[in-house]
């Protein structure tokens, strides 16, 4: 087996790769949470549009329901949806950036170490 010495710069690249891996996992988990709440708000908006508009109860603060008008509820849900969508777009962009950098690192590190290194999940 051909031994390739690990140089300082190789170590730094390996570290970067590991760091990115951790970030990727976290971002994907965050994104899943956002995705779920986006779907919930989407359902809520649909229900609001279908309902007769009287007596709408909106969950505020996670624990209490507050009686609000239909307009307020619709507006609230749409504003939240937009906010979550923006956050999700941000996550997606970050995930893409990480994936691109990991691809670069893989080329360099596999090029140098070949089968001596394993850069998968």
């Amino acid at each position: 087996m051909g031994d390739v010495e690990v140089r300082k710069e190789d170590q730094l690249l390996i570290n970067e790769f590991g760091r990115l891996n951790a970030k990727m996992h976290e971002r994907k988990a965050d994104r899943a949470v956002l995705q779920k709440s986006l779907e919930e708000f989407d359902d809520a908006t649909t229900e609001l549009a279908m309902g007769d508009g009287d007596d709408v109860k909106l969950m505020l603060g996670g624990e209490s329901f507050v009686d609000v008008g239909e307009d307020f509820a619709t507006e609230y849900c749409e504003a939240e949806q937009e906010k979550i969508q923006a956050e999700m777009d941000h996550e997606d962009a970050e995930i893409e950036k990480i994936a691109a950098r990991q691809k670069e690192l893989k080329v360099v590190l596999y090029g140098r170490f070949g089968s001596q290194i394993n850069l998968e999940e």
């Binding site: 031994d3 570290n15 590991g18 760091r19 951790a22 109860k57 603060g61 209490s64 609000v68």
Partner: protein
């Protein structure tokens, strides 16, 4: 064994592990030439980093829970404030306990009680409550960012230690193999 640390620390005092330039000279500097002590020291360091990583990850998780909680509270106080300014009552189904909701008409009074923790609840005017919540939101985010920074740094250290251990180990395997067949080595040289 100080030589396996670089001597630098991050702002929270977490030490940086030293990169091994040459396994041979590191071995000579730290031990009698056998790898066991060095591997042992790295193992211990690895465990310490892992414990610290677990600790930081927990702090981060609690911050990640806290941030949405504060955001939701902010939302509620803002709703109260808006209703107060409009001089309107509103109906609420508030959580009495899990699965049971009480129904009440709320007349915003201009004050709201915030649960500060440690069995203490304090009454604040809306604006002050908003200030406090905004501040604790900012602090929670800051602490989460610090945890992120530490976790990144810790991961670097852990990977470096792992690579160091692998290299020392490989070096030893190679050395033993070479010792076993010195003739072959001599001819090649």
């Amino acid at each position: 064994m100080a030589t396996i640390l670089s001597g630098n620390t991050n702002p929270r005092g977490i030490p940086h592990v030293a990169f091994i330039d040459s396994v041979e000279s590191t071995l000579a500097a730290t031990t009698d030439g056998t790898v066991e002590t060095l591997i042992g020291a790295f193992n211990e360091l690895h465990q310490k980093f892992k414990i610290l990583e677990g600790h930081k990850a927990r702090t981060k998780m609690s911050m990640k829970q806290k941030i949405p909680e504060i955001t939701k509270t902010l939302q509620l106080v803002e709703h109260l404030k808006a209703k107060h300014e409009a001089e309107e009552d509103f109906m609420s189904h508030y959580s009495l306990s899990e699965m049971i909701y009480g129904r009440a008409t709320i007349t915003p009074t201009g004050n709201v009680c915030l649960w500060l923790g440690a069995n203490v609840m304090v009454e604040y005017p809306y604006d002050e409550a908003l200030d406090i919540l905004t501040l604790s939101l900012k602090n929670a985010k800051l602490r989460k960012d610090i945890c992120d920074e530490d976790l990144d740094m810790l991961r670097d250290q852990i990977i470096t230690v792992e690579v160091n251990m692998a290299r020392v180990f490989n070096y030893d395997v190679k050395r033993r193999r070479d010792e076993k067949k010195p003739e072959a080595g001599a001819i090649e040289a």
